[in-house]
Amino acid sequence: MTHIKNLLSAGDVDRDFAIHLLDVAEGMSDVNDREIKKLPTLRGKTVVNLFFEDSTRTRISFELAAKRLSADVINFSAKGSSVSKGESLKDTAQTLEAMGADAVVIRHHASGAANVLAHSGWIQGAIVNAGDGTHEHPTQALLDAFTMRKRIHGNASSGKGLDGVKVAITGDVLHSRVARSNLLLLNTLGAEVHFVAPPTLLPANPANFNATLHYSLDQVIDIEKPDVVMMLRVQTERMTASYFPSEREYARIWGLNSDRLVRLKDTALVMHPGPMNRGLEIDAVSADSPRSTVLEQVANGVSVRMAVLFTLLSGERA
């Protein structure tokens, strides 16, 4: 098991460490069920949520996770200070360093921003990537894996991976940091990844993707019989950029609807990282069905982020 100082990519964690994180998250989820939902573990530590891009969901999830561990939380919203305008990433990082941040949770519109922050020497604290451009979103992958493991193995999930689990990730793979992080972590945990998308929303050269690529969701459902169908959000800016002709056509061919839902195998899960475009990539029946883990994913997000903050902030600092 290799410990890490920062969590920049789902590829940073080896199998043992990934399972360790998920196991710690199990412990954390117990805390979230208690009456007093707080642990003193990170008392006196400062966690900064550095968000260059709006994401209320991810921010409050990290905020709650840090607060439940008794850390002091500062939300630093730097939206608008983008490309070469206003305050640079470097200035912001140095400011946070001067304030003594022990961990920086960064969300940025630029792919690689978390890597730059971690390797620039601007900042000593632990860096957690909370989504960088179209690159990665490793805590999302961890909470998705946690959710799958919990549904598949129940109370016996501790210590287990996701060996042999077949996951069909459907939608805008090209621009999805959720898809990239899930691919890496699911591979690490032994799952089998299938990407389903219109050809325009798959990478032109997927040579390094250890996944099977499909254009037809129907074929994947009927032939591959996935254990998990994960629907990705279609960003509004794709709709006007000729990636597909219309929302209607997208929903008809790549959306999860009640027709497709009933053809899934009995135990199959329906996942979505949220927020959902109901009626586009997923219809209401699918989103609200008992197979759907959407709300569990949200709850598990807090546990997983607690586990990540705890693990990065306890133990020897490099």
Partner: protein
């Protein structure tokens, strides 16, 4: 009249050993046992015609925090260059006779290399209206190379007109081949690595489609076309085809595209961010082969200085471009000589004769011969140098810092004047 200098026992590109006598600005004798007031032992050094860069960004006027004509030509001298062609994307843009004459005179004042301004093809590099190419050609700067480099002349009609128009004064259009719609927001080569890194891809076809169009346009109007910084194997194939067909196309490759690949982008270190982007190893090999077999005519540096803050940031916010003047000869040596694939003669062609011929330079890039200007780069081919972060350039965005490269420019003689001696830059330029 006794010679000012004698370069004793220098090895010429063809392997022969001779003394070179320099008097005033010219080479006055080549032979054995020549005498002069100062004799410089050049045994073991390769004497090559001073290098000519067809693609340099000197940044002045407008971006003097990155580079000036003075600092840029000093870096050039350290790299063995005696002439540079200064790209037009300054501020104001070099799209009028006034600006090109200013750059030209700044070059003369600096005195480290001949500075040939390149004129913009279109007003403000905007691709809409042809700049006054004739005025620039007829100015004191005698512009012959025109380019919107940094931007592509993407409108096919404007490109056709420009190709035709410059025939009037034997000019040439140097095209930055980049289809703008296919590269909107593009950050790096589109391929397996961009798919992993989540950076917007820059497909090879965005370069190749423009080159294919332009060689056909050049054929149609029977004009010359020069293709800047080829970066893909496909571009090589198109140029090879065009040359076989008799189209008057010349092509350049940068040192970085001969050496570096998109794997380096994994670090997200913006020093590797460049336009066109670093490509794959297969592209690098195709470019090397094309340079050796003559499909590619020249190495040009695309020396592109940027201040620290333009690189010390997240990748998409960073500027495109990297330094190249001081390391170009070493990379040429690595690719042509150390590989065993080619010769010093070829190196002289791609770094000196050919760029001068494409640009129509009369004074630079001539063979080392009696009567020619004494523009000579003396290389110690046995030296092994770890590239340092120190540079004569005002900027430090070199991707080679820390790398070990072969060869060292020991002396640079520019019009009979040592701009570099024993690896040290002259404190003042030639006046």
């Amino acid at each position: 009249m006794s010679a000012n200098y004698v370069l004793k026992n220098a090895t010429l590109a063809d392997g022969s050993i001779a003394d070179i006598a320099i008097t005033g600005e010219k080479i006055t004798a080549i032979g054995k046992s020549l005498e002069g007031s100062e004799v410089i032992d050049c045994s073991g050094l390769i004497a090559l015609p001073g290098f000519v860069d067809l693609h340099t960004h000197l940044r002045e006027p407008g971006f003097e925090q990155s580079e000036t004509v003075l600092t840029g030509t000093q870096a050039a001298a350290l790299g063995g260059f005696t002439a540079v062609h200064a790209m037009a994307n300054t501020s104001p843009v070099a799209d009028t006779a006034g600006v090109v004459e200013q750059v030209s005179s700044l070059g003369r004042e600096a005195g480290y290399a001949d500075v040939y301004p390149i004129g913009a093809v279109t007003v403000g590099l905007e691709g809409k209206q042809m700049a006054e190419l004739g005025a620039m050609a007829n100015s004191k700067a005698k512009v012959r190379v025109f380019s919107d480099d940094g931007k592509c002349v993407h409108d096919p009609l404007i490109m056709r007109r420009a190709l035709e128009y410059v025939k009037a004064f034997d000019g040439v259009i140097a095209q930055h081949a980049q289809e703008p719609r296919l590269t909107e927001g593009a950050q790096m080569n589109e391929g397996a690595v961009s798919a992993e890194l989540g950076l917007t891809g820059w497909p090879a076809v965005a370069e190749e489609s423009i080159i294919a169009r332009d060689v056909l346009l050049a054929e149609h109007v029977d004009s010359r076309i020069h293709v800047c910084h080829l970066s893909t194997a496909g571009s090589v194939e198109i140029v090879r085809w065009a040359k076989a067909r008799g189209i008057k196309v010349t092509a350049e490759v940068t040192p970085h595209h001969l050496l570096l690949t998109d794997e380096l982008v994994r670090s997200y270190d913006a020093v590797y961010k460049v336009n066109p982007p670093l490509r794959t190893q297969a592209d690098v090999l195709a470019l090397r082969e094309a340079l050796i077999d003559g499909t590619i005519d020249i190495i040009a540096t695309d020396h592109a200085p940027h201040p620290i803050e333009a690189k010390d940031c997240e990748w998409p916010a960073a500027a495109f471009g990297m330094l190249g003047l001081e390391t170009a000869a070493a990379i040429a040596q690595q690719v042509l000589i150390e590989s065993g694939a080619s010769s010093w003669e070829r190196l002289a062609q791609v770094l000196s004769y050919n760029p001068a011929a494409i640009a129509g330079d009369q004074d630079s890039g001539q063979p080392i011969a009696v009567g020619a200007y004494a523009n000579i780069a003396l290389i110690d081919p046995k030296a092994v140098v770890v590239v340092s972060s120190e540079s004569a350039s005002k900027s430090n965005n070199s991707p080679y810092v820390g790398m070990t490269l072969p060869g060292r420019v020991k002396h640079t003689v520019y019009r009979g004047y040592f701009t570099v001696r024993d690896g040290n830059l002259a404190k003042v330029g030639k006046h």
